[in-house]
Amino acid sequence: MRDQNLETPTTLPIRRDPACPFDPPPELTRLGESQPLTRLAFPDGHVGWLVTGYDAARAVLSDPRFTARPELKHSPLPRPNVRPGGHDKPPAPGWFAGMDRPEHTRYRRLLTGQFTVRRMKALEPHIARITADQLDAMAAAGPPADLVQAFALPIPSLVICELLGVPYGDHAFFEEQTTVVVNMDSTEAQAMTATGNLSGYLNDLVRQKRARPTDDLLSSLITESDLTDEELTNIALLLLVAGHETTANMLALGAFALLQHPHQLAAFRADTALTETAVEELMRYLTIVHLATPNRAASADVEVGGQIIRKGETVVMGLPAVNRDPGQFADPDALRLDRTDARHHLAFGHGVHQCLGQQLARIEMRIAYRALFDRFPTLCLAVPAAEIPMREASFVYGVWQLPVTWEQA
């Protein structure tokens, strides 16, 4: 085995090959070919690790000796992912994504009853109606359309708003603020301001609901738990941002990927039994949580993949490489919608922080992709693929716009 402590650490690979927008950054792929973990140089001078191997990523994410606490982690990017309370401070009350057991468990268990497989299944007719309404509006307006604005963004936004009890009328506001937060091209100050704006908005909403509870998740949390307004605000912020931004990018990027793989799209259209594996395969193949997250810090010396990770070192998952590890997935760079083991992807993470909203996201994607391609049999890109603006410098990968057109009946 090579002693990686003697090697020059790499910086986090970000740049993708414009000709292959669905593939991980070539440098990330290259690193993954030689070893499951690589020494990673952080902008603040810290030297930690980048994980590209599937088994190593599972090992780190499921091991309680790795902490999610922000104040113990270094940021692998010059502009850290901003959080309420600050990225290098202890997690703000309620921000359980940055907590460990048992603190994390207490918050998560207040919410998990609302996101079970059965509860999410019961939402199906409702999500189908929301989707049909969006597609009707898109058809009525006629081609061309931006699939992000007409389809990918409004569906998850409407769904999470109704679930939480956030007025959808305000969606332009929180979508705009969220974009500022996740876009690395915005400065840290801009991202902090946007986070503050979102917190202020949700804090007002929490106070209104405390005074007049309605029939939604936020109101039931207020009446059935002893959470403070600050905790409720941060929980609402986590759910609102995680709940619309990620799914929206999967819907748009997934549609783009299907349009660019006509044989796979034809198979998808021909066989409704393919819906579930298709969604899992798109999650694996596209891995939109692609940059700098998930990450953890070692709270003890831990051996992973033949390397000793020292106490205090930050470990960053390179999920796009992890989900294309040839040791786990055969022919990993191919999009194969009938791949039976696609569900083993780590695109929703792994361990105690594995995505809380995964069953909701799955149902939204199953319904929305199916409805889109049923409704518009002749859907195609309205511009050359090379002109689609990719969200390379965003914490969530995807497209900024997706101009499409179709033949009108």
Binding site: L61, S62, T105, R108, R109, T112, G113, F115, T116, V117, R118, R343, H344, G349, H350, G351, V352, Q354, C355, Q358, Q359
Partner: protein, 66 residues
């Protein structure tokens, strides 16, 4: 095969229910795993092994019995 679940470890991901709905369910109030069938018949063993792999929290174990 004997299936054992650990409610304290469970993080209510729902992965086991998606994988083997005849063996696992989730509690209504907090989504924590409910073991429907601790001794599933042979035809379900593959699904159960898959659920063990997919459980993000290491909350499912099986003991093979001869």
């Amino acid at each position: 095969m004997r299936v054992i679940v650990d409610e304290d470890r469970c993080v209510a991901s729902g992965q086991c229910v998606m994988t083997a709905a005849d063996v696992f369910d989730q509690r209504e109030e907090d989504g924590i795993v409910v073991l429907l069938d601790p001794k599933p018949h042979r035809g379900l063993h593959d699904e159960v092994h898959n659920a063990v792999m997919l459980c993000p929290a290491g909350a499912i174990r099986v003991q093979e019995e001869s």
